[in-house]
């Protein structure tokens, strides 16, 4: 859905998931290099690495596919 402007709700969703995913992924990598003293249960699965990567990938997909430039291309194709 469009706002009437050029940014879709899905673009904002991508932005949110992408930034959050990148922060979580980076934190997970840092924790592998420098393990914390107090570990969570199932720490060895490194959930923050793969969950952060999944969120980052989802965010990149939404952010790029629904970017203003791609939206303009789609609109031009329809008209």
């Amino acid at each position: 859905m469009k706002s009437g402007g050029s940014l879709s709700i899905w673009f904002f969703t991508g932005l949110c998931l992408g930034v959050t995913g990148a922060l979580i992924f980076a934190t997970g990598i840092y924790e592998i290099m420098s393990p914390p003293a107090n570990k969570v249960v199932l720490y060895e699965l490194h959930a923050n690495v793969w969950w952060g990567a999944i969120l980052l990938a989802s965010g990149l997909f939404f952010g790029i596919y629904f970017s203003p430039a791609n939206e303009r291309k789609r609109m031009a194709g329809k008209s």
Binding site: S3, F12, C16, L23, I24, G28, P36, V40, V41, N48
Partner: protein
């Protein structure tokens, strides 16, 4: 108090790191940014109150669900599943799916074709100003009350979980909601609800995934629950992992309810009333761009609603199986009033409702914890934005525009909408502080809310499907249903033995009483509406066009294949719903 100290208090359930705080602050900045971005797109009444009626089925469907997916709902039902087991899933399956499909395929065409702005607005078209006035005034009052109570309860949770100051939580969250709804209206609320939907899933989905890995899958979880049952639990071991097989008698399950209460009270009345007539959720679907999207939106919402037990009910069950105290002993959660009492705090007790944050703290390290807390905050804000935007519309169109100033211009209504949003949040904040002083009111409000929803369903249903129903029948039925519900509630409060008549058994617990009271008051509403209608003069057919079955030409859907048909997707969702009941029977 210094802000950093305020946020990073050490005596809390979980401890946030710097990256967690960055994620939370980024979320607040983003929702405010969306509000400012959409400000210029909310210039007319249709834009501000109905989001221009241009939402796709997906956006309307996700917002429809998100407005209901508040954080108190998430935490409360996770706590209920710890307490009652998988029986709590009834509120997500039979207590939601059939009614959402009924809204989509039976009721939505009438709401959509008559182009009403609200559910009370439909009652005005069908039954006149009397029924609209009862419905709109009660809805507006209850919405503000619920909004304030949710705000207070959320602030209490944030204090327990994070150590945040009550005033800080109330002010920051509510002013953020006020800002983005006042700036962009319903469009901004819906945009943020879609965003919040994804955040809630992203933040909560990891808990059941990791929990099932730790428990050894569903079979391992069942075995661990059986091992951990206390004497109280052990009386009804099956009810913790079976949906229907223990509902033969009131005393065969910890909820004190039987199958009739679940099927007829919850499924046929309370759920139907909530999902089809509560304007808080229906408003999202009315913003759809066309009838097919309006029919598909609740079906999309229903498909995701069926999955919500995975992030709400399952964590509660996992908590029952896996939670341990720092000494490695099984952690027993207790009722909230005991846990939050000075004695409970001194002993380090935790309430049922804390099971979700406890599971979050169990598996989520820095970053993931911030995402999980953001999901809880997002849930609170989506629920509050839903209340505020629905209140604003009902006030502007159904109270001010109908009862006070019928000639208000569109431009004036938009201005009023922005101001009423801010004022509504202000009143909600006041309500939150009132509740802080009068906490006993929280015990009654859920019941108060149900007083209005169950009879309203009877009135709207008869209005849509029976053209002989008259204006006098409509408003007297609604009034009789509401008063009878209040009367039954008061009767049981004054004489506890009355439970045997109201809920058919002395073993019936609170939830069962709510179910049966809703059933009776809806039936009373229908009977009174029928009798009064038969004794009064009906409206001519010409005045009922577009609001009653048989007199409303439903637009034919454009020539779409079965893959785009709401009936196909509705049938598919219903089949999956049935299969789930059989699997967890």
């Amino acid at each position: 108090m210094n802000l950093a100290l305020l946020l990073l208090s050490s005596n809390t359930l979980v401890h946030l790191s710097g990256v967690d705080l960055v994620i939370i602050v980024f979320y607040f900045a983003l929702v405010l940014g969306i509000g400012f971005y959409l400000k210029g797109q909310a210039n007319t009444g249709e834009d501000f109150f109905m989001a221009g009626r241009e939402m796709t089925a997906w956006v309307a469907g996700l917002a429809f669900l998100s407005a209901n997916l508040g954080s108190l709902e998430l935490m409360g039902w996770a706590g209920n599943s710890y307490k009652y087991g998988i029986l709590a899933a009834h509120w997500y399956w039979i207590g939601a799916i059939p009614s959402m499909l009924f809204l989509a395929l039976v009721m939505m065409p009438f709401y959509y074709v008559c182009k009403t702005h609200s559910v009370p607005g439909y009652l005005k078209l069908r039954f006149g100003v009397g029924a609209q006035a009862i419905s709109s005034v009660s809805f507006a009052l209850m919405t503000l009350l619920m909004s304030g109570i949710n705000m207070y309860a959320m602030a209490v949770v944030m204090r327990v979980v994070l150590g945040w100051d009550l005033n800080f939580s109330i002010m920051v969250s509510s002013l953020t909601v006020a800002a983005y709804v006042a700036l962009g209206g319903l469009r901004s609320a819906i945009f943020n609800e879609v965003l919040q939907f994804f955040l809630i899933w992203a933040g909560a989905l990891l808990i059941p995934i990791l929990g099932l890995i730790e428990a050894g899958g569903w079979k391992g979880l069942q075995a661990k629950i059986l091992q951990n049952l206390t004497e109280q639990h052990a009386a009804n071991p099956g009810s913790y992992t079976h949906l229907w097989s223990t509902l033969g008698n009131f005393n065969a399950n910890p909820m004190g309810i039987n199958w009739a209460g679940i099927v007829f009270g919850l499924g046929a009345v309370i759920a139907m009333g909530y999902w089809t007539t509560d304007f808080l959720v229906v408003q999202r679907v009315l913003a759809a761009k066309d009838l097919r999207s309006a029919e598909l939106a609740p079906i999309i919402g229903a498909a995701f609603k069926m999955c919500v037990p995975f992030i709400v009910i399952l964590p509660g069950l996992l908590g029952l199986a896996l939670l341990r105290d720092p000494q490695g002993q099984l952690l027993r959660l207790v009722p909230a009033d005991l846990a939050w009492s000075p004695a409970g705090q001194a002993q380090g007790l935790h309430g049922y409702d804390e099971v979700l944050p406890l599971m979050l703290a169990r598996y989520c390290g820095p970053g993931l914890l911030g995402l999980g807390i953001t999901a809880l905050i997002a849930g609170f804000m989506s629920g509050m934005a839903g209340n505020v935007s629905a209140f604003t519309t009902v006030w502007t169109y159904d109270i001010y525009g109908t009862l006070i100033n019928k000639n208000a211009s569109d431009e004036f209504k938009v201005k009023m909408g922005r101001w009423v949003t801010v004022i509504g949040v202000g009143i909600s904040i006041g309500t939150a502080y009132f509740v802080m002083r009068q906490q006993s009111i929280m015990d009654y409000v859920q019941s108060l809310f149900s007083f209005f929803i169950a009879p309203l369903f009877g009135t709207v249903l008869l209005g849509m499907l029976w053209k002989r129903a008259t204006p006098a029948g409509g408003w007297t039925g609604l009034l009789a249903g509401t008063l009878s519900s209040v009367g039954m509630y008061a009767w049981v409060k004054l004489d506890p033995n009355a439970v045997r008549y109201v809920a058919l058994s002395m073993d019936a617990q609170d939830q069962a009483q709510n179910m049966f009271r809703a059933l009776w008051c809806c039936l009373i509403c229908i009977i009174v509406t029928f009798v009064v209608s038969m004794l009064t003069k009906p409206k001519p057919d010409s005045e009922l066009k577009d609001v009653v079955y048989g007199l409303t030409p439903i637009p034919k859907a454009e020539n779409v294949g079965w893959l785009h048909s709401p009936y196909f997707w509705g049938a598919l969702v219903f089949v999956i719903f049935i299969v789930l009941q059989i699997i967890f029977w």
